[in-house]
Amino acid sequence: MIFLQLFLSYFKIGLFNFGGGYAMLSLIQHETVEAHKWLTPQEFTDIVAISQTTPGPIGINSATYAGYTAVLNSGYPPAVAVLGSVIATVSVCLPSFILILSISVALSRNRKKTYMDAAFTYLRPTAVGLIAAAALSLVNHDNFIDLKSPLLFLAAFLLTWRYKVNPIITILLASTAGLLLY
């Protein structure tokens, strides 16, 4: 039952993400590409590219897109696939909703700061590892197809890291390069 699985996967993604949007990519990739094979590694990379260029949080963007594509790839018609994107998007928000509404009052009054801080001691360095894993998993033959690929990677890396160029500009430049190079 793909809808129940989508719900469970995105609920887990929402519940266990502590490291922001990029760390969430690692969770999304594990659930959608490796565990359930709803998306090919290529499709996953394409979703990240599209999420980077559209408004809204990447966690929501990727849930909507992956929910739709996963159901479509399982052989359902597009109208049913829309339901998949609704389920994935709602499920990824649901854990925060339940958690915040149930402990919001307690949090604003006297926060158990020490336990919170303790829980985050290793979560912060762990989140760095999660983001790195997401990047490493994408270094494969689907994404690096020829000798031009590593050059494009290096150019984008330098533009973002050294010159702090906005990702949207980088993606627009790369799209133009694609039309000219391939």
Binding site: F18, A156, N166, T170
Partner: protein
């Protein structure tokens, strides 16, 4: 009030490109300008949002909506925040699945894919800086990345382990 909440958060959802933290200045301006919240309360909501799991911008919407109009307010704000990106992405998904075999779309994405890898590699380095990774803590992200990437272990187990280790150290090691 619900009407105003809905449209303010709709605007926040529609006009911020670049993820949750990019939304922050816009949320702060809208919320304090309308005197919905003091700056202290806003910063409080910001701190709680960071410690909660999930999508940061959604957490902010839930907290602010709840402060102002309880559960109904939280639902209205969350829906308003996610509706723009939901509709945009759904349109693209429907469209893209039909054109992805198009010659020009293929050309564009052949060049985009290695670029996306770079766009994720950079935040792993900036996150390392922000988390003050030094020689003593460097093995943690390296081992985590290897466990997920090379050994295929679910990130969920690693997150649970990290929380447990932090709490255990706090309770047993003084």
């Amino acid at each position: 009030m619900y009407h105003a909440l809905f449209f303010v958060f709709l605007r926040i959802g529609a006009f911020t490109i670049g993820g949750g933290y990019a939304m922050l200045p816009l949320i702060e301006r809208e919320v304090t300008r309308r005197k919905w919240m003091s700056r202290e309360n806003f910063l409080d909501a910001f701190a709680i949002s960071q410690t909660m799991p999930g999508v940061f911008a959604v957490n902010m919407s839930i907290l602010i909506g709840y402060r102002l109009r309880k559960t109904a307010g939280a639902i209205v704000c969350t829906l308003a925040t996610i509706i723009p990106s939901f509709l945009i992405i759904l349109t693209i998904a429907i469209f893209f699945t039909q054109v992805q075999d198009n010659l020009y779309v293929e050309k564009i994405f052949k060049a985009l894919r290695p670029v996306v890898v770079a766009l994720i590699a950079v935040p792993s380095l900036t996150a390392a800086k922000a988390a003050h990774i030094n020689l003593r803590t460097a093995p943690i992200p390296i081992v985590v990345a290897m466990l997920i990437w090379a050994a295929g272990i679910s990130p969920i187990y690693i997150v649970i382990l990290a929380i447990a280790a932090g709490l255990a150290q706090h309770i047993f090691v003084k």
